[in-house]
Symmetry: C2
Subunit: 334 residues, 2 copies
């Protein structure tokens, strides 16, 4: 890489002259500016990012820590973050916590050494279960702002972007009740997560209000045996005519299971799930979905963080932004 030094030497001027010329300083003569810029162009000079970071004490880099990059929702949020960040001239360093508290702590520590200006993160499952928040507080007290999204630690004072999980399932369940469905199940493989719990409660509320039946909840442990568990559910509850799925796969599997049992969707049974379009087409008929607008969540998180970074002097109040879900009707509901 070419440096100012080399340019200066070749042009027989001082380093600072070159620096100023490239930054269009008023101080430097037009002729000099021209000469400098031409040579810089020729050598494809780019200011060294590391030196700039050291000098200006900021990296224009955001640390992103997510629990699982294979989760479609999370990678979509990441997409939103990346795009928004890039538009503002920020890079993102990504770490994957693998739902582990240890890894989350470690990543946070590792990047809090000047590598990034702040963090955007989604709390790991283990962290939520153990309700650990010390590492977040420590990072913030070191002057590195954090923005949490989706799964958040409520007791940490920082910007947050969340989804209206409770309302989402409440409304979705209601809509099935209005379709005159009489036995609606809630199936989930994320019951350990804060958002999973919220979704379950929204469902519960709607069911209890309907007075049709007791809540019927199926909890599965991750993907492995979802197909089997869902099959059993259908066998056991022959009159099941509605399903609300809390995650992105279960709804698809529920439809396919129903179809394979010869039941008509949506004539005999309606299904609603939390998926995005690209997954929703994996069932026939296509799944009616609760869209979380993952990209928007990511973009919002990035905006919040960048805004805070660019106004570090002022003492801005922490904000919590709620990105509302929307129920996108497709062919798995009436």
């Amino acid at each position: 890489m070419v440096t100012l030094k080399q340019l200066a030497k070749e042009l027989n001027v001082s380093i600072s002259t070159v620096s100023k010329a490239l930054n269009n300083s008023e101080e430097i003569g037009d002729e000099t500016i021209k000469r400098v810029k031409e040579l810089a162009e020729l050598y494809n000079y780019k200011p060294n990012k590391v030196a700039l970071s050291l000098k200006q004490n900021k990296t224009n880099t955001i640390g992103v820590i997510i629990p699982d990059i294979l989760n479609h929702f999370l990678s979509k949020v990441l997409f939103g973050i990346e795009r928004e960040a890039a538009q503002h001239g920020y890079n993102i360093i990504t770490c994957i916590s693998n739902e582990s508290l240890e890894k989350e702590k470690h990543s946070l520590q590792l990047l809090a050494n000047g590598s990034v200006d702040g963090f955007i993160l989604c709390v790991a499952e283990e962290t939520q279960v153990k309700n650990e928040i010390a590492h977040f507080k420590k990072t913030i007290s070191q002057g590195l702002p954090i923005v949490m999204f989706d799964r958040v630690a409520h007791d940490v004072l920082c910007d947050k972007v969340i989804v209206d999980d409770f309302d989402a399932t409440y409304r979705a369940t209601k809509s099935l009740i209005e379709e005159n469905r009489k036995q609606i199940a809630f199936i989930t493989n994320i019951d350990e997560l804060s958002v999973g719990k919220l979704r379950e409660r929204g469902y519960n509320k709607a069911i209890l209000e309907s007075r049709n039946h007791e809540p019927l909840v199926l909890k599965m442990n991750k993907l492995k045996d979802s197909q089997q568990k869902i099959k059993s559910l259908f066998k056991k509850h022959k009159k099941l005519d509605g399903v609300i799925a809390a995650d992105s796969s279960s709804g698809i599997i529920a439809i396919n299971t129903a179809v394979s049992f010869g039941r008509k969707v949506p004539k005999d049974i309606s299904v609603i799930g939390f998926s995005s379009q690209s997954v929703a087409i994996h069932s026939i008929p296509k799944l009616t979905t609760i869209r979380q607008h993952a990209k928007i969540i990511g973009a919002n998180a990035a905006q919040l963080l960048i805004h805070r970074l660019q106004n570090m002097s002022e003492d801005i109040d922490v904000k919590t932004k709620i990105v509302k879900t929307s129920l996108v009707k497709s062919k798995s509901t009436l």
Copy 2:
């Protein structure tokens, strides 16, 4: 963040003494080392990464440029890269090219200013179509090594990690022929990509060798109307009894379509696709898949790059690593 300077001041020693003490230099007395380390511990001192990078002229950071993070295969590779990199003390900066040549160039340029030590990337679709390689060569000539994976530019001299795409579909098609399937279609929504073409050729070869029928290829434009196109295919070719899918969604959709037409899978028709387990369960019966071992691809790419970075003085020959696919039989084939 605490700096050496502050520690030095508090301890009434020089900066260099502190630095040496923390690095367990022989020069420094045991007593001093102890004092220094205790204070460093107390203040949670961490060497500033940016300053280190500037000094040592390396960042321990890898730039990763992928075309699409919502693609499950690519995000899985990213996962593999991240894990391997983290194990070797490297961070990754992720950029998403969105299949655009411009964005790819831009990201490459942007990070080639000292932000990263090298790149791991998967060539964008537009880049492949236009067959542009100048930006890759330029980057490499600037001293930043590149490792390409999956979709590679053959004319660029660099390390590569690829999949045995041709063989994979050749063998998969063969296996259907051995099941005595008489009319096997190839469906793809990635026919513009180098890997898509290779997969098609593998299928073609097997079909032509069988002398059963002419190759029957369905090309779709991305996800939007896959369901529709596949439906039409089934309607038009009533005797279709085998499907090879080149991407991760089409196989799932093919099964669901067949089932919805009342055809038995795998009794009447066999389907094989390029998916991973988490997607394969989206169909009933579960899809028989060609596994690409995405995580291993990522890990290999990271290894190749890190090895090169740590031996920059030596002139290592470029390597191309082939990660073999495996055919994982499930319930959609006999």
